[in-house]
Symmetry: C2
DNA sequence: TTATTTTTTTGTAAATTTTACCTCAATTTA
DNA sequence: TAAATTGAGGTAAAATTTACAAAAAAATAA
């Protein structure tokens, strides 16, 4: 029998549940990941995903929301479960299972000050440093899932500002799929899906000619989804 | 502060982690689900998925393997994570998150005696009784996932005996997708994927004429997968 | 002001994939 | 041996995907 005292301080003597967030963002420079430099031992100074233990009275999803709010300042972030990591030995410090969530944010919406204060920063998806524990694996799995999801559902739009151009959308998909797409075919396909609303305005910031801005038409998307469309690009 | 005594007996005062298995099987009568009639309170006598708490020193996957072995007698069952249910109030008895796993078994391989002794039984997917807690939801989600998976990977084969006929395979896919498929197109498609090995033998049990038996060619499948095939049917 | 440069926008033909649809073959049983 | 049942196989039309190049719009340089 273990004493009450031991129980209280032995962090491998009880189950912990955590949630870790794989936060994707997108801007001119491509697809990025929000990482956090650990300030406490063990692994002080190493890069890590952002995460937290789930409180006893807290929904797992709410824990993810809390973490995302705390670090990015954003509420209503799009996120979805990626995978649950449950190896007994995955964390030497705690007997802890972790529910990984992948989150998509509009990189320009978030609170840069807050991120900085937390010792977090954005890393291009192609140059992610080594991470603590099984977080490398989490990133690989989540990126895979992002690719999967983007193929079936228009979640790419969560990463773009409300108004965006078709070339921007294409760059995003190229970053997600990690390959070049034909611009004629891309445009044709994406317009054929009828979930884009063309605006009068043009965006002149990223080209000389300027490109028409579009909005994503959520309502129309929902209608189409009911009648069984697929968003394969 | 709560006393040690309360801590020990208050099952909502600590985190529990469970795994629940959504076990699919397939036979002449269609797609089925393995359910279990609870023998203990609360909800004694109600139908439930099979599951267990995850032990402190146990991988989550191993817990699922343990449960599956215990009830079906089978080792090496195919299973995959479905979703993790983490609402604080999902189980009134425990503060418990549950990692749902969907499992596919060859219904004729399992130990019928064992299943019976455990008070478990097979239920056609179209007439699943009401289940305890959020298990209805788990079944819906897992069935959705099964449909998804079957579309991209040849996991349907996990549900069939080693040797099977094309009409059997078609019946399976019809049960999974819950719609009729055209037999000419189905045959054409499935053969074009080049993952079936035609045998000399015929199965005469399910038709007068008898149908050729096939084996699933795992190696070939892996090769094809590397070169980027998709298994959409 | 004109030429150059850069980026957006648009169409079409060929190839591939999906869909719709029916007849004959093999065997059992009446 | 006739009837009934289920398996096996092909083709044409439709839809989708792929490959591919030239013109339009605007800023900048000459």
């Amino acid at each position: 029998m273990k004493s009450g005292y031991t129980d209280q301080y032995n962090t491998r003597n009880k189950m912990y549940v955590a949630t870790d967030c794989i936060v994707f963002g997108f801007d001119e420079d491509g697809l990025k990941l929000l990482l956090f430099k650990r300030k406490v031992k063990p692994d002080e100074g190493k890069w890590s995903l952002i995460g937290s233990f789930v409180e006893l009275e807290e929904d797992v999803d709410d824990a993810a929301r809390r973490v995302l709010k705390e670090i990015t300042g954003l509420e209503d972030v799009f996120f979805e479960q990626s995978y649950t990591y449950g190896k007994a030995e995955r964390d030497p410090g705690y007997r802890c299972i972790s529910i990984a969530q992948f989150a998509l944010i509009r990189i320009n919406d978030h609170d840069r000050e807050l991120v900085k204060n937390y010792g977090a920063s954005w890393h291009n998806i192609e140059s992610v440093p080594q991470l603590v524990l099984d977080h490398d694996r989490m990133v690989r799995d989540a990126f895979q899932k992002l690719r999967d999801r983007a193929r079936r559902r228009p979640i790419g739009f969560e990463l773009l500002p409300e108004k965006f151009t078709i070339p921007q959308l294409q760059q995003l998909y190229e970053a997600i799929y990690q390959r070049k797409l034909d611009s004629r075919n891309f445009r044709k396909k994406v317009i054929s899906l009828k979930v884009l609303e063309k605006l009068e305005e043009k965006d002149k910031t990223s080209s000389k000619r300027g490109a028409y801005l579009y909005k994503f038409d959520h309502d129309n998307y929902l209608k189409l989804q009911e009648s069984g469309i697929n968003f394969e690009i």
